[in-house]
């Protein structure tokens, strides 16, 4: 049941490659609180990797370590075959790690189009002078990137709202716009922090379809945190289970589902 060590094809024919990102013995402390204790796992190219666990298990902290927002006290983050030095979050993003947020973090004063265009900023290089003059380089770049952004907008079926200010949109659409903004950056690794939180069944189905399509069409590697077990088990290739900052399980959905430690964590057993 467990996955092979090297590249392989999944049952539905997707290519899973080598390790893209590897967390080695990560420990993260806030003062005396140990949020993450000595966790190691890897994310492989092309796979959908889920991180699950009860509330307060340290999942979001883990995602924040990956995106460079928190710096672990111990351990190393390996990305594309080399150790990642301590860097600012924006540098991590520029290396190709995109993400969405648990509580929607869109730029409310801007239109959907502007929000998604902001996602392209790592691909835009016109200098301040070029932009001030506009004619020429800045305009060409703007049109080119608009073209790329429109592809994402088409893909996520948000054409009708592209000129609407984000503040006016309902929750489900905001979540989709956030995904669009992350996708516009063409990330190699996409982190999704509870993409289905607060959604109804229909919206969850839509979002699941989009996640699968993104992975399928663009070959984007995805790491996601989600509480809806049905969704996690259906979508993901491999699952990491965390509880109280520790890793208690790691494997395919079937392996994890039948793991006694995982069952205990979710159903609750008295801690000695």
């Amino acid at each position: 049941m467990s996955v092979p060590a090297g590249p392989y094809l999944t049952e539905d024919g997707r290519q899973i490659g080598d390790v893209l990102m590897e967390m080695k013995n990560i420990t993260l402390k806030f003062g005396g609180v140990v949020a993450i204790k000595d966790i190691s796992f890897d994310i492989r190219e092309g796979e959908i990797r889920a991180i699950i666990g009860p509330n307060g298990a340290g999942k979001s902290s883990m995602l924040n370590v990956i995106s460079g927002f928190y710096h672990p006290q111990e351990g190393e983050v390996w990305y594309k075959g080399s150790v990642r030095p301590a860097m600012k979050p924006f540098e991590v993003a520029r290396q190709g790690v995109g993400r969405t947020f648990q509580n929607i973090a869109l730029f409310e004063g801007m239109t959907v189009l502007d929000n998604v265009m902001t996602g392209r900023l790592t691909h835009m290089h016109a200098s301040v002078w070029d932009q001030a003059i506009w004619w020429g380089k800045a305009e060409r770049e703007e049109v080119f990137n608009r073209d790329q952004v429109e592809k994402v907008i088409d893909f996520l079926e948000i054409q009708a709202i592209r000129k609407t200010p984000v503040g006016r949109l309902p929750y489900g659409l905001k979540k989709r716009v956030e995904l669009a903004r992350a996708l516009a950056a063409e990330p190699s690794l996409l982190l999704l922090d509870e993409p289905m939180a607060g959604m109804n069944v229909e919206e969850k189905e839509d979002m699941s379809r989009f996640i699968l399509d993104v992975n399928d069409e663009f070959g984007t590697t995805i790491a996601l945190i989600e509480h809806d077990m049905g969704v996690v088990m259906d979508l993901s290739d491999r699952v990491v289970v965390m509880d109280y900052g520790k890793k208690i399980g790691d494997g395919t959905p079937d392996e994890v589902r039948n793991d006694q430690a995982v069952i205990d964590a979710y159903l609750g057993v008295p801690h000695e």
């Binding site: 996602g119 932009q131 800045a138």
Partner: protein
């Protein structure tokens, strides 16, 4: 009906992101530009130039500079007056040290000095935001005005402590000082203001503008999607202070003719901030609307009752002016935080569907 947009289809992204994708907007802008470039200068009196046209343009430019920082990049500043002063004093020093210098070049260069000072005082914005940053810029306000007073080199050891604009000519035409005519100065101001407005529009609609707005709306998310917050905030301070500095140089050289340090004190900062707030934070056009209101209101209060035969004392006019502006600010903060620009946007939306509201 007049504003109907139906049938105006875009077939390229270039057309879609044009400045004025709707024909009526370009038409309206055309009328405004013709008024500003031809009709007003031909018809205006000396009084109109000095009390309305030139100051409106200069205050609009100052508000535009502040708006880039506060409205677009979300960094509150109370030091606008002092940054205007830096521009004015820099221009004065350049003109007196290098009398051969072209006045327009000197004015445009003086913004570079205020941009430098603005960036220096913008460094705290990397750690603090909101009210606390406003206090930090307030420190700049007090410090710089103190410097204008105490550092006599700045005003060439003039006994009065003030700077006096000398007669400056460009290609045989006096452009500043007592001998310059108002219409020449108006045109010079108009050229510089138009140029900088064009630059500001381009910067705010492009990548840099989106970076600023993202910093304003949610800085943590902005950083996590790849925005260098330091660069974003400091470019906002630099561009904003540059425009404010140029407006300060215009303020003294093209309008006031002379300046004492306390001219750049906090009332000026607040005046510019009020223009930006009433006009609409985060809007370019709003600065003009706000300046027209704030500069125009006292003139209207002075002239209209007199023309109607009602006698109001000038002290009362002064008080009325303060009261009306004060209540307008409260009105806008409560009813329409996005200012006059947003009011125009709403009117425009209504006009587009008028007379069939559904």
């Amino acid at each position: 009906m007049l504003y109907r947009t139906a049938g105006q289809f875009k077939t390229s992204y270039r057309a879609d992101q044009a400045l004025f994708p709707i024909k009526q907007d370009s038409f309206l802008l055309g009328i405004i530009l013709i008024c500003a470039w031809v009709v007003f200068p031909l018809t205006a009196s000396e009084f109109t130039f000095q009390t309305i046209l030139t100051p409106i343009l200069i205050y609009s430019l100052a508000a535009l500079g502040l708006n880039i920082l506060t409205g677009f990049a979300g960094q509150l500043s109370l030091g606008t007056g002092a940054f205007m002063g830096v521009g004015a004093y820099a221009c004065y020093k350049m003109i007196t040290l290098m009398p051969w210098m072209n006045p327009v070049i000197a004015i445009l260069l003086s913004g570079v000095f205020s941009a430098g000072v603005g960036v220096a005082f913008g460094i705290p914005s990397l750690r603090i935001k909101g009210f606390y940053l406003a206090i930090a810029t307030l420190a700049a306000q007090f410090f710089l005005v103190w410097l204008f007073e105490k550092w006599s080199w700045l005003y060439n050891d003039n006994a009065s402590g003030a700077i006096q604009v000398p007669n400056l000519d460009m290609f045989g035409l006096y452009v500043a000082g007592p001998q310059a005519s108002s219409i020449t100065q108006y045109y010079l101001v108009l050229i510089i203001v138009s140029l900088l407005t064009y630059v500001a529009i381009n910067l705010t609609r492009g990548n840099l503008g989106r970076t600023w707005k993202a910093t304003r709306d949610m800085d943590i998310a902005a950083e996590l999607i790849g925005i260098n917050l330091m660069k974003s905030k400091l470019t906002a301070f630099a561009v904003s202070s540059y425009i404010v500095g140029v407006s300060g140089a215009l303020f003294v050289f093209m309008w006031r003719g002379a300046a004492e340090p306390n001219l750049f004190d906090i009332p000026l900062s607040f005046r510019v901030l009020f223009i930006a707030i009433i006009g609409g934070l985060g809007s370019i056009m709003g600065n003009y609307l706000g300046a027209i209101l704030i500069v125009g209101l006292p003139v209207v209060l002075n002239t209209v009752p007199a023309a109607l035969g009602i006698h109001i004392e000038s002290a009362l006019v002064e008080h009325l002016n303060i009261m009306i502006i004060g209540s307008l600010i409260i009105f806008f903060l409560i009813i329409e935080p996005h200012g006059l620009a947003q009011l125009w946007r709403l009117i425009r939306e209504k006009l587009i569907i008028w007379p069939f509201p559904h």
